[in-house]
Symmetry: C2
């Protein structure tokens, strides 16, 4: 059932159509990796297409750090198109005429699922920093509860890019029997030192903002907009490639013919970054940003599922894997995908791998890159044939 | 003559041995590229070795963004060794038994030269944001005044890495007759869009800190330590290579055996970055950081000196060039050095080029990389032979 809720983004309150929300774990508490026990777990999700009679056509889409369940259709805060309209829909690689598509907001996030904005029943206020630290494993176990709620015992496919790809790998390692095929894009099996470093910068930028108020900005009627904008600007640069930045902006000036000898945004690239930073604060919760980056930092599938061996984490898997990287992605470079492929090869898993040539950097998984969508379509079509869909 | 001055770094006042200070441009105002006229230009510098009788053995060292004139010897604020002890000294590539070495603090900086901490004679207070925006060209013209003060009509060599390398190229383009040889390391002829973007993030982090007080933190007895630390952390990641970060830190934990499920510095790389950020605020002026990053952003030698053509900027040069890059430097990648080399080749300049293989990233020019120092020594020794030193 569809629900509207009041959400505070920045200083503005929005009545948001959060899609369906289900309250899971009501009978048995949900125990997070950190040990916290949750007895009511709200999960906000969207579905597209129709579940077939034998429930064999479900595709779970896992979203990235700042993504959400709005794969298709207007976003309730920004009004923009869904984030994966190029991938999902009628006639698209994940064809909604053929598959039943589910996407839920990850726990730790801010679009209706259990997160730091959730009201803590113990205090009647937002959890804020009282919110427990969650992991990618926790996110996936919460998604699994949602699938149990739907009565789906096996997913036809789990698909995601970036942090979504981490969840795909986590699904395959944790619930191999529940994953017929897995498409992990622009991702890694363990977060690198450099990526932890960039996340730490973002968190420090947010926490340095006095309007963050130790996470209690809602209570204090403040909002760490500047800190969050700096965090977003830093992350945004890592999503692009140097070549793309040079081609798109180079040293072009913004609305002026000469440099201004000052600290205004002389260059288009500065103006663009400021815009990205400012836009973000109107749609994303600062505390959620802290929690989700932390979950990514903690991600290390070899340690979690393979006693230190990545291959071991996927031993005896029957899942069909499709691993995709982008040549200009320096946040999750191709080498990290190759490591996953080598581990899968080591256990004789069914794996196909493609490095897509593009200048679009990490963000390529969200952008117009025809070869990428063709690769996913080819893989899913063949998987569907094998699954008899 | 050596001078002590009181300097405020962070909240602490230090009596700093600023080395020699000379007040230039007293007769003729110094006109900055932005149009501002300066009638007294303090330049703080250090020298090492002895100027020979015909003044032919002078080597000018140009420092990087956060560097200073303390090439050798204890730094007056940090107490640490000089920043280029590996390059300069008896028996080193820039041998102080052979050369007269000069290094001056660039204008815009904070170690005694004309910068935003200088007292504005019009107000009796620090310039702060009233300080005019300076360019790499301005820095070099100020250095030229210093050389005139010494009566040196030609430098045997100008040497520098990163922003120091920008100054080297600027020297060669602006005063070709004054530069016998030029060693430009890990640098570029024009600042890239990505690098402008990273600088803008640093500036936004500083300016987002309410303790920055629109640049008037000294008057307000505040200090934007958190913003400056975030700026430094961001920059610091760009100085290293992913491989180096992975080898040095990987996912090693800091003083704990398990992740802490919180926002403490669980990982060594986080702890290291925080340390880098916090250390920096005790030795560098936030406004100076704004001004110097801006000067780098504005740097575009083809536009300044070649009517858009980089080759043209070096037409008819007699300078001997040595261009050096580091294979893992992604801030100033080898391709940017190659562009300079191609331009020099196009005007038949005398140029040697080396890409040094190392995992140490951009910071390699400050670190123990024997092949690098050997390359500089080889080039300077041969140049000295040709110059008859």
């Amino acid at each position: 059932m569809s629900t509207k809720q009041e959400f505070l983004f920045g200083q503005q309150s929005h009545a948001i159509e959060v899609g369906d929300i289900v309250y899971l774990a009501q009978d048995t508490p949900f125990i997070l990796d950190c040990g916290a026990e949750i007895s009511q777990l709200p999960i906000a999700y969207q579905t597209f297409g129709t579940l077939n009679a034998d429930k064999s056509n479900a595709v779970l889409i896992c979203h990235a750090l700042t993504g959400d369940q709005y794969v298709l259709g207007a976003h309730p805060v920004t009004g923009k198109a869904g984030w994966w309209e190029l991938m999902v829909g009628v006639g698209k690689p994940i064809d909604t005429d053929k598959y039943f598509v589910i996407c839920s907001n990850v726990i730790g996030s801010c679009m209706g699922s259990f997160g730091p904005k959730t009201i803590n029943p113990a205090t009647g206020k937002n959890y804020g920093l009282e919110f427990p630290v969650v992991t990618i494993g926790d996110m996936v176990r919460a998604q699994n509860l949602l699938l149990e709620y739907f009565g789906i015992s096996q997913l036809f496919a789990v698909v995601g890019g970036s942090m979504g790809g981490m969840q795909v790998l986590e699904w395959a390692a944790r619930y191999p029997e529940k994953v017929f095929s897995a498409v992990a894009v622009a991702t890694t099996a363990q977060h690198s030192a450099q990526n932890i470093a960039f996340h730490e910068i973002g968190r420090q930028a947010i926490m340095a903002d006095p309007d963050w108020c130790m996470g209690k900005y809602a209570e204090n009627k403040s909002y760490p907009a500047k800190g969050l904008a700096v965090a977003r600007m830093t992350a945004h640069v890592t999503y692009l490639s140097e070549v793309m930045l040079q081609q798109k902006f180079g040293r072009k000036l913004q609305n002026r013919s000469e440099i201004g000898y000052g600290f205004e945004a002389d260059f288009q690239v500065e103006s663009y970054l400021r815009y990205q930073g400012n836009n973000f604060v109107e749609r994303f919760d600062p505390n959620a940003y802290l929690y989700i980056t932390r979950a990514m930092d903690y991600f290390d599938i070899a340690v979690e599922h393979g006693q230190g061996s990545l291959a071991q984490a996927f031993a005896q898997t029957d899942t069909r894997f499709c691993i995709i990287s982008f040549s200009s992605d320096w946040l999750f470079p191709t080498e990290e995908s190759r490591r996953v492929v080598r581990a899968l090869n080591a256990v004789a898993a069914d794996v196909s791998f493609a490095e897509i040539q593009t200048d679009k950097g990490h963000d390529a998984f969200l952008l117009e890159v025809p070869e990428f969508y063709a690769a996913v379509k080819g893989f899913l079509d063949e998987s569907a044939r094998q699954r008899g869909i």
